[in-house]
């Protein structure tokens, strides 16, 4: 019930959108959102689009990995520097 899935807007007519998730299409009311366009990703819940997914934030979250890598490298280097000092 609390499941909401990220779906892509394929078309919009009269505040109703056709959205797709992995090739399967659903109807989604756009009554709860402003400024949505074809191509946007939304969270679909019980037939309503409840929020737009932010592509920038989505990417940011995944960047944590490279941050870790950077951090680890830095720490390793620092450690080395510390030892050699």
């Amino acid at each position: 019930m609390c499941l909401s899935i990220p779906a892509k807007i394929e078309s919009i007519e009269d505040n109703m959108a056709i959205v797709s998730v992995g090739g399967v299409t659903y109807k989604a009311s756009l009554q709860l959102l402003d400024d949505v366009n074809v191509g946007d990703y939304i969270l679909l819940h019980t037939g309503f689009a409840i929020q737009k997914i932010s592509p920038e934030e989505a990417e940011e979250t995944l960047k944590i990995f490279s941050e870790f890598e950077d951090l680890n490298r830095k720490m390793d280097e620092e450690e080395k520097g510390f030892r050699s000092a």
């Binding site: 019930m1 609390c2 499941l3 909401s4 899935i5 990220p6 892509k8 998730v21 992995g22 109807k27 009311s29 009554q31 709860l32 959102l33 402003d34 990703y41 969270l43 819940h45 019980t46 037939g47 309503f48 409840i50 929020q51 997914i53 932010s54 592509p55 934030e57 989505a58 940011e60 979250t61 995944l62 944590i64 990995f65 870790f68």
Partner: protein
């Protein structure tokens, strides 16, 4: 490849996060996930097995079907037995045991009960059956409430007068604080992602401020959950709890204001009954007077049988995080997903169901 899902299931990243959690944690910590969707995901992806021994996860009262009191099911069944009524509902409720029957059994007995995907489909059924009263069973938390609000708002705008809502809509924060007041010992909440999509962060203010618990709003994929557990651990280790958003791609600090306005237009707070937790102040929602003519309870009189609870089902204590499904004598024996005794086994977001499916 499904966008916004697959990349958050990256195994390498998940293992890396497991390592980071291990590095960050020095003391025993207990975190509770309140949302049934989280419970399901945590077990599906085997998250507990990735965590160091000192970090434990507990399930809380966030499966809407599970916290719905038996009296609600009994009342829905009584409505279904009326000749001029069509019941419309999400599929989740249909197999939940009432005191002596289920909606599924009532449907088998010839009563008109229809599963819908959206409240908008229920409205269409009302339009197509003007001589019937169409009742929609509104259950769910803040994620689902806006759609019910929209349904009622639209029914009013279209002057549909044979449509009714039987509301069991609930709000999350009173249950989250009631648990702590009752003495359930946890260090932080994995806060519900999709509830927060609607509400934003402000509803959780008391959790760090008053109760000193960590609070991270989490997404539903393994990377999201592991990252949230890392953030919670860091908050507790630093001794500075606050409300943090991990699920930034879907949760804005202010939430979805349009949805919030619609809820406010249609609903008002009432004290409500939760399975396991009892009556909690201002924890439920009913239609405002202005929309009272859509309120099934007010408009359609019905006699309801006396509620009987099942002996042996410890759903209530599981929802409070005091016990886990393994503590129930019926688990996996007299109670299975194909023949459930309690609501926690019926709903695929229920702790018993998740345990049975992914753990047992």
């Amino acid at each position: 490849m499904i966008k916004y899902i697959d990349e958050y299931r990256d195994k390498k990243l998940v293992l890396k996060l497991a390592e980071e959690i291990r590095k960050a944690s020095t003391k025993p910590l207990r975190f509770m996930e309140v949302c049934g969707g989280h419970t399901m995901a945590i077990h599906k992806f085997g998250i507990p097995s990735l965590l160091p021994e000192n970090i434990r996860l507990l399930s809380g009262p966030g499966c809407p079907v599970c916290v719905t009191d038996r009296k609600y099911i009994d009342t829905a069944i009584a409505f279904a037995r009326l000749d001029d009524v069509i019941i419309t509902t999400y599929g989740d409720l249909i197999r939940v045991p009432g005191s002596t029957s289920t909606l599924d059994a009532e449907r088998g007995a010839g009563n008109d009960i229809r599963i819908v995907y959206s409240i908008l489909d229920a409205l269409t059924i009302a339009l197509e059956n003007p001589d019937k009263k169409v009742i929609f069973l509104g259950i769910g938390f803040e994620t689902t409430t806006p759609s019910s609000a929209a349904g009622i708002y639209n029914a009013n705008a279209q002057s549909i007068d044979n449509f009714f809502l039987y509301s069991s809509h609930k709000v999350m924060p009173p249950a989250m604080t009631a648990l702590i007041d009752e003495g359930v010992e946890i260090d932080g909440y994995i806060a519900p992602g999709h509830v927060s999509t609607i509400t934003g962060t402000s509803i959780y203010k008391d959790i760090p401020d008053k109760y000193q618990l960590a609070c991270v709003i989490s997404g539903f994929e393994p990377v999201d959950l592991m990252l949230s557990i890392l953030m919670l651990t860091k908050q507790k280790e630093a001794g500075k709890p606050f409300v943090e958003i991990q699920y930034k791609r879907a949760v804005r600090p202010e939430g979805n204001i349009k949805a919030q306005r619609l809820i406010e237009e249609v609903f008002e707070a009432k004290d409500d009954l939760w399975r396991g937790l009892g009556i909690l102040r201002n924890s439920g929602l009913r239609l405002k007077d202005k929309y009272a003519h859509y309120d099934a309870e007010k408009m359609i009189p019905v006699e309801v049988e006396r509620t009987k609870e099942d002996k042996g089902c410890i759903c209530g204590e599981i929802l409070k995080g005091i016990k886990s499904p393994g503590d129930c004598k019926l688990f996996g024996k007299a109670c299975t997903p194909s023949d459930p005794v309690g609501a926690c086994m019926v709903s695929n977001e229920g702790a018993c169901h998740a345990w049975f499916r992914y753990k047992a």
